[in-house]
Structure formats: C-alpha cells, structure tokens
C-alpha cells in the first residue's frame, strides 16, 4: 500500500512542479494547490497506512491500554497509575471517551523511539511494544489508524486552504490592476535598471 501511495505522491509532486514552472500565475496557483495536496498525502503515508478502524475505544477499555508501569504514557504525572479510571475523575460523558482517542494518538507515535529507528509498521505493533507485556493493548486496538498524521493533515489543509484563498484573491487583484497574469510582465516593483550616476 505504501508503495502505491508513494508513487501517487510522486506523481502529484511532478504535476505540481511542472505547473509551478509556468510563468502564468493561474497555473502557478494550481501547481501550489496540488503541491499542498501532495504534501498532505505524503504525511498520511509517512504515518503508515494502518487499519480502517478509528482509534476510539469503547468506555472502560482504556484501562488496559496503558497498564501499570508502562514506559511512558501521555497523561502521567508521576509515572504510576497512569490513566485514571473514568469513574474517579471524568465527568459523566456518555458514549465514547474523549480522552481515549487522544490517549492513543501520542501513544502510537511515541512507541517508535523506544523501538528504535525502524518504524514497525502497524500501529498495533507499536502499541504492544510500548506496553511491553500488555498484549491486551494490541487486542483492543487491532488495526486502528494512526490519528496523528490526520491531525497534522487537518492543520495543513486548513492552512493551505486559507493561504490559497488569499493568493487567489491576490492574483485576481493583480490581474485587474496590472492587466496580465504573466509574471514576466509584472515589472512594477522591479523596473528596468537605470544607470547609476557616474560622478558626484
């Protein structure tokens, strides 16, 4: 799967760079847009393509994700008794646990440092290596998706969307005021050089 996605990302990059090499602003903008999408897809692939299941657990199951004495957990202060039970501290939200999905996010990505440089691929593997003997963790998580790349992509999408909107308006305004969308003809800010004075 990763190989196919990598090829697609490469294709996106090629298309966007080709478009960005044009001297017409509209094409450049299209190129920039595809460029952003290529990056998003690339981050998605970099986070490993896990299973289709969302990393949200049913209530009560998150006890076993970080058993006592796990190496590191997101919400730990002392390192002992890392995740408090919902009955103790959490307000009575119905349904799934808000914290649970968040708790997996850092956990899944944090596993790698403890494993070593080579990513272990599936999130479940990472989880189980994090929790050590806690095989129950991988049972619960199964083939869930890694949520962190999705958070990153969401951020990147929002940013590139807004900047793209800005650039679109800017291009339109520039076209209106300079009557061209060819950047070679945009010579208002960079006038042809004048010879400097040759004497005092």
């Amino acid at each position: 799967m990763e190989a196919i996605f990598s090829l697609v990302v490469g294709l996106f990059f090629a298309a966007s760079i080709y478009l960005m090499l044009s001297s017409h602003l509209v094409r450049i903008l299209l190129g920039v847009s595809i460029f952003g999408n290529a990056v998003n897809l690339m981050i998605f692939t970099a986070g490993r393509l896990g299973g289709p299941a969302p990393p949200v657990l049913a209530e009560g199951t998150h006890h076993s994700v970080y058993p006592e004495g796990a190496a590191s957990a997101p919400i730990g202060h002392t390192g002992e008794g890392l995740v408090p039970g919902p009955e103790g501290a959490a307000p009575a939200h119905g349904g799934t646990l808000a914290g649970a999905d968040m708790a997996v996010a850092p956990g899944a990505d944090a596993a790698v440092p403890s494993v070593g440089i080579e990513p272990t691929g599936a999130v479940s593997d990472q989880m189980s290596s994090l929790a050590g003997a806690a095989s129950s963790a991988s049972d619960i998580l199964g083939a869930t998706a890694n949520p962190l790349p999705q958070a990153l992509i969401l951020t990147a999408i929002v940013i590139s969307f807004s900047i793209f909107a800005f650039l679109l308006v800017l291009t339109f305004r520039a076209y209106q005021s300079m009557d061209t969308d060819n950047v070679d003809d945009m010579r208002v800010a960079e006038v042809e050089p004048v010879r400097p004075p040759l004497g005092y």
């Binding site: 307000p91 009575a92 939200h93 349904g95 799934t96 646990l97 808000a98 929002v158 909107a165």
Partner: protein, 137 residues
C-alpha cells in the same frame, strides 16, 4: 439572486442551519463536531441568507461586523488558554466546573470556551469573505 423559492426558503434554512451549527458545536467534545465545523455551518447559513435576501439584510441581522466577531472569538480562545495560569496549570489545560442542576450534571469547562471561540473565529472570518464576495461583482 432572483429566485422566489430561494428568497422564501432562505430565512428558514438559515435559521435551521444556525441551530444545527450550535448543536454540532456543543456535541463536539465527545463526538464528531466542534467549533470549527460548527463555525463553517453557521457561515454557510449566513451566506445562503445573503444570497436569498441580500447582503444588507444579513449585515443588519448580525448587527456587528463579521471581523469583530472573529476578533471576539480569538479573544475568547486566547483567554480560555490563558485562564489556566490563574489556577496554576500549564497553558491550554482544561479547567472543569460541573454544576448539578436538578440532578443533571452539566459539564462546563474552559475547553468549551475555547471551542466557542473557535466557532466565532471561523464564523466571523468566513462570513466576512462570503459577504464581501456576494456584494462585489
């Protein structure tokens, strides 16, 4: 736009969408939803209302300028993040207050304030763009 159907339906549709946006905003902490998507829905409501009934009507209806709404939202979010300072917690930490009204727990928190702020930021800035686009050309 000169469509009788849209002109008639737009106010109702906008009102419904507004209501739905608040619903989406409030369910966001535990289920899909939240300030961002809520703000998007609310901004679309204003945009539809603008298409149906004219931009001036919308501007009168929302009283303050959309940019001011966005500013207020930014302020709310920033203050929600800052409020943890007075409780001796790190920035953006959620502080909870759960009053019990007639036996029902109502979980209130700075997280909610933050999300409402995001709602206003998105609503304000997107509405500002949409209305300007509708009113020009």
């Amino acid at each position: 736009m000169n469509s009788l159907i849209l002109r008639t339906i737009a106010p109702f549709l906008a009102a419904l969408m507004m209501l739905f946006s608040v619903f989406v905003l409030l369910r966001g902490h535990n289920e899909p939803g939240g300030g961002f998507i809520g703000g998007l829905i609310a901004a679309s409501a204003l945009a539809i209302y603008g298409i149906g009934s004219g931009v001036d009507t919308v501007r009168r209806a929302i009283v303050v300028h959309p940019n001011a709404i966005a500013g207020a939202g930014l302020l709310m979010s920033a203050v929600a993040g800052l409020s943890a300072m007075f409780m001796g917690r790190p920035v953006l930490t959620g502080l909870w207050w759960i009053p019990v009204v007639e036996g029902i727990e109502i979980p209130l928190s700075t997280v909610l304030v933050f999300d409402v702020g995001v709602y206003f930021v998105v609503l304000g800035s997107l509405a500002s763009i949409a209305l300007t686009l509708e009113e020009g050309d």
